[in-house]
């Protein structure tokens, strides 16, 4: 029997980006806020000091900063004919753990989605006709527009100090920026990062082919920055230990470096770490959340009553907790009924390896940052005519090689190189400094299908005896075609740069749970215009339980061809704004069902 804690106004599940943003916004309203975080407290000087942060084995291979599958995992299969098996060790994506969440270990590539990404379905149908879309594709409009989100993108970027070059200022195209981006109200808070040799060369090669290259928007800062909360950040030193790592010198935007110092000063905010939320409690009507059940580090169970519940865990665990709490109807792929678990998506990433003459090219690949890179956006979203190609979607592409860590980069060897022995050793030695291998160089969209979804596994359980989430996921022809086309264009740029040999690595099916792509899992509790089509309304408010707001990428109806964090952050500010300006005045549904 759970013991009851004194009630709070707001309980937040998860203290990553969205949990921190919501906590800060709602604490500003004077509300008593508590955050329940599954993992430990983490901070720069104590947990990833420059004395030992640069440790590829510890952080990259042994997953120091990540959730241990022993604590919580999921099962996976490609389709309903297979028996799902547990994900015993992480592979295709990484699940952060602890205060800061994914915001601690990310690369900090800080993009906005295209205006048409938010009206995807209606836009594509209008331009190409319904028949152009695959029958089983389940894409939707978001219910919120780019124009509505713009001020919130802006807030997130100014919170993070994002370094970049504007491409579209209030409708005026800016030289050197991304001409395809939606209009932004002001420039990035800090100038773009400097670019190393290989990345610069990519920009030149792309420009030679007639594209408009621009620096990737980066949360690794080009210069010191003070954000609107008065929190200070340093400048990036291009150490090349960014993604999978914590930043040792306060130069990567994270909840710790941008918002927690201000949030933790709020006397009406408390965080409880190493506490795992196990259920959102509902009253008898099932229409009102009364609080959250959680288990502390000693195994004792507690109830935290609250007036407002913010679900701000990682996408998978948002969906899992909704299911475990009996909120909403679970999705059934046979009937297409149900909202929780539908429209699950990930990313369609592909790459190319480019081998250069080592006598002429020395790239020093270790001089890098997580979000460094020169990119082009000609093949993203609907920036090009898909009519001749027979697929929809796209992605940005660029030389975004974020590191020269040997165990990560040594996989880029010329075709025919043996896996071991003297010839392997020679090849590693001779290619390291003169090869480009950006693991997520082509960052493609992943649209949604009836057959890609999340539900409960019938066999495997977590440590509390609750069913694991089951992921049923495969790539569809649309995404594979897109990947092949984009990877061809990508390889052409490497050739234009003067590569001796280019090896294309388009994404191939079936979806493989061991192959790292990105940690950008999306959907499962998506935004929708009506309760029939999703779990949450345009403000991320649960259709079923109006005093519950579900943050993060679980709300994306499908994934665009960009890294999602910029949009996740913008949605968090958007949702918080709606709570502050509307919900707190009139608690109840913000959109009529």
């Amino acid at each position: 029997m759970a013991r009851k804690l004194p009630p709070k106004d707001v309980v937040i599940i998860g203290l990553g980006w969205t949990g921190s943003i919501l906590a800060h916004e709602l604490a500003q309203e004077g509300l008593e806020v508590v955050a329940i975080e599954r993992g430990p407290w983490r901070d720069t000087a104590t947990d990833f000091s420059p004395a030992f942060a640069q440790d590829e084995l510890r952080y990259r291979l042994r997953h120091e900063l990540f959730l241990r599958p022993a604590q919580m995992s999921l099962t996976f299969r490609n389709n309903r004919d297979q028996t799902a098996l547990p994900v015993r060790d992480w592979g295709a994506f990484m699940l952060g753990n602890g205060v800061g969440g994914g915001g601690l270990h990310w690369n900090a590539e800080t993009w906005r989605f295209l205006p048409t990404d938010f009206t995807l379905k209606s836009h594509l149908v209008q331009r190409y006709g319904q028949k152009f879309l695959p029958d089983d594709m389940t894409i939707q409009d978001w219910g919120v527009t780019y124009g509505e989100l713009e001020p919130h993108y802006d807030r997130f970027e100014y919170l993070c100090g994002t370094s970049g070059q504007a491409g579209n200022l209030k409708g005026t195209i800016q030289a050197g920026g991304n001409p395809f981006e939606g209009p932004r109200s002001r420039p990035y808070p800090t100038p773009a990062q400097k670019q190393p040799f290989a990345h610069t060369l990519f920009g030149k090669g792309a420009a030679d082919l007639g594209y408009k290259p621009f620096p990737q928007p980066s949360g690794n800062l080009s210069q010191a920055y003070t954000n609107p909360l008065g929190v200070e950040m340093g400048r990036c030193t291009y150490c090349g230990f960014c993604e999978w790592f914590g930043c040792a010198n306060y130069s990567k935007a994270s909840p710790q470096t941008t918002i927690l110092p201000a949030l933790l000063r709020q006397p009406n905010f408390t965080a409880r770490t190493e506490c795992e939320a196990t259920k959102i409690l509902l009253d008898k009507s099932g229409k009102r959340a009364t609080g959250v059940l959680f288990v502390d580090s000693s195994g004792a169970e507690w109830e935290q009553p609250a007036e407002l519940v913010i679900l701000a865990a990682f996408q998978l665990f948002n969906v899992q907790l909704l299911m475990l709490s009996g909120i909403g109807q679970r999705y059934d792929p046979l009937t297409g009924e149900g909202q929780i678990g539908r429209n699950f998506s990930h990313q369609t990433v592909s790459a190319a390896m480019a081998f250069f003459d080592k006598k002429k090219f020395n790239f020093n690949p270790f001089v890098a940052s997580g979000a460094i890179g020169m990119c082009i956006d000609e093949f993203n979203g609907d920036n090009f005519d898909h009519g001749p190609h027979g697929f929809v979607g796209g992605g940005y592409m660029g030389n975004v090689q974020s590191n020269g860590r040997p165990l990560e980069t040594m996989t880029a060897l010329p075709p025919g190189t043996p896996q071991w022995g003297a010839k392997w050793k020679e090849a590693v030695r001779d290619t390291y400094l003169s090869t480009i291998y950006a693991g997520s160089g082509v960052h493609g969209s992943c649209y949604t299908y009836k057959t890609n979804y999340l539900d409960f596994d019938p066999t495997y359980k977590d440590r509390f005896g609750r069913p694991l989430l089951r992921m049923t996921m495969d790539f569809h022809d649309n995404e594979l075609k897109m990947s092949a086309f984009l990877t061809d264009r990508y390889a052409e740029i490497f050739k234009a740069m003067g590569a001796q040999q280019v090896v294309k690595k388009p994404r191939k099916g079936p979806y493989d749970i061991t192959q790292y792509q990105t940690s950008h899992l999306c959907g499962g509790a998506i935004m929708s215009a009506t309760p029939k089509d999703g779990a949450v309304n345009r403000y991320l408010q649960s259709w079923d339980v109006p005093n519950l707001f579900v943050q993060g990428a679980s709300g994306f109806p499908q994934n665009a061809g960009y890294n999602p964090t910029g949009t996740v952050g913008a949605l968090a500010f958007w949702s918080a704004g709606a709570i502050r300006s509307q919900y707190l005045k009139h608690p109840g549904p913000l959109v009529d069902a």
Binding site: D43, T44, A45, T46, S49, P50, A51, F52, A224, T226, L229, G230, V231, E232, M233, G234, R235, T237, C239, A248, N249, Y250, P261, A262, R265
Partner: protein
């Protein structure tokens, strides 16, 4: 014009207590003034009950070089606090170090500084203290060796080292300067930490504010001396430091972080400017620039290598740091203090700087105690003390060893 205005405000502030003397305990303005002065004097720094259960109820053990003294209960509780004291008894305690029962206080209670505070201000503090919740709490006794355990011994101490008497403004100095002096020498009791002490624990005469070891830290010289003092700082830099805990040179941490958090960050801009004006006018130990150790020195070479690998990613290759985030080592007074205790401590154990409303970041320095051995830590400190225009004596590995040992003992 602005200067005059500031001076006027300072005069008004000085006189503020007088206008309200004799009013009853309900006087909001007076109580507010007293609360502010209690903040300036940082009463809570010693008198809060450890664990925070009862503000100002005493019980904190104060380690002194001579033994442990326990801070008393200064809530208005009649039996265990100061509720039964008369105003005169209260003033006598603060200005003469004599308790209600006639026994002497130990100068851990900084009455040698508070003696400079005028009676009106002291009574305002009293008015404020009368409003805090009375807490019945026996603070506990002291732990001092003979003969110091005899409070009567303090009479002799007072005779030798203590000069009672209110702060007297210096003619020819601005009102702002005098206000600064009143605060620095009086209620803010800066010298309690920053002035060197003699064997009896009293301020060394003629060395006011010239730096002093405190509780395993070194409180650096805070006069206008250069490079050991604040010679390179403008008055605005001092104000920013006291107000926010951070400025372009450095960050407050350790005991000073707490002082900023509890006291100086809550002081008015006028008072902070007054303090800065006064400090900038203290010549202190003067502008003696020792000769920097040559870069070719073996310790300097090792230090440069350690610095490049472990320090430069934050403090930059040129020792310039990043404003309000990573202190500038170049030109830093505390880096060039004769006594490197604070530096050693920060390198070995790490520390978090203070976070304030204006500067919430509270960046932290990692611990390098597990990464650097005594020789390496000594070398890198010698290097930062003698690079980019800095000059200070080399740091000895034996000193690192001693502080490492004391830190291990303390953390147990």
């Amino acid at each position: 014009m602005r200067k005059i205005a500031v001076a006027l405000i300072a005069i008004l502030a000085l006189g503020a207590g007088a206008a309200h003397a004799g009013s009853d305990g309900q006087d909001f303005t007076r109580i507010e003034h007293g609360r502010y002065l209690a903040t300036v004097g940082d009463c809570a720094g010693c008198h809060d009950e450890p664990g925070g259960a009862h503000p100002l109820a005493g019980g904190m053990k104060i380690e002194t070089p001579f033994g442990t003294i326990t801070a008393s209960n200064i809530t208005p509780d009649k039996d265990t606090g100061i509720g039964a004291w008369s105003d005169d008894e209260f003033v006598r305690a603060l200005t003469h170090g004599i308790r209600r029962d006639g026994a002497h206080l130990y100068p851990a209670m900084p009455y040698p500084y508070y003696t400079k505070v005028n009676r009106d201000d002291l009574l305002a503090i009293r008015a404020y203290l009368s409003t805090v919740p009375p807490a019945r709490h026996e603070a506990g006794g002291d732990d001092l060796p003979f003969p110091l355990d005899k409070r009567s011994a303090m009479a002799a101490w007072n005779k030798m080292y203590f000069t009672p008497g209110e702060f007297r403004p210096t003619a020819g100095k601005s009102a702002e300067w005098n206000r600064g002096g009143y605060l620095v020498e009086g209620l803010a009791h800066c010298g309690a930490c920053h002035t060197p002490k003699n064997l009896a624990g009293a301020d060394k005469s003629g060395e006011t504010l010239q730096g002093n070891p405190v509780q395993g830290w070194f409180a650096p010289e805070v006069t206008d001396a250069s490079p050991k003092g604040l010679g390179a700082w403008s008055a605005e830099d001092i104000v920013a430091y006291l107000k926010t805990g951070h400025n372009k040179f450095t960050a407050a941490t350790g005991p000073m972080g707490d002082v900023v958090n509890r006291s100086t960050s809550k002081m008015t801009d006028a008072d902070l400017h007054a303090i800065a004006t006064y400090l900038k006018d203290q010549p202190g130990s003067g502008d003696k620039q020792p000769t920097a150790i040559a870069a070719s020195d073996p310790a300097m070479k090792t230090g440069a290598a350690v610095y490049a690998d472990e320090c430069a990613a934050c403090h930059t290759a040129h020792g310039t740091g990043s404003p309000r985030l990573f202190p500038s080592l170049a030109g830093s007074a505390s880096v060039q203090s004769d006594d490197p205790t604070s530096l050693i401590r920060v390198v070995l154990a790490g520390t978090r700087s203070v976070g304030t409303k204006a500067a919430p970041t509270s960046p932290a320095m990692p611990s390098f105690g597990a990464t650097l051995d005594d020789r390496e830590a000594a070398a890198v400190l010698t290097y930062i003390r003698n690079s980019w225009g800095n000059a200070a004596p080399a740091v000895d590995a034996a000193k690192i060893h001693d502080i490492r040992k004391s830190l291990t003992q303390h953390s147990g």
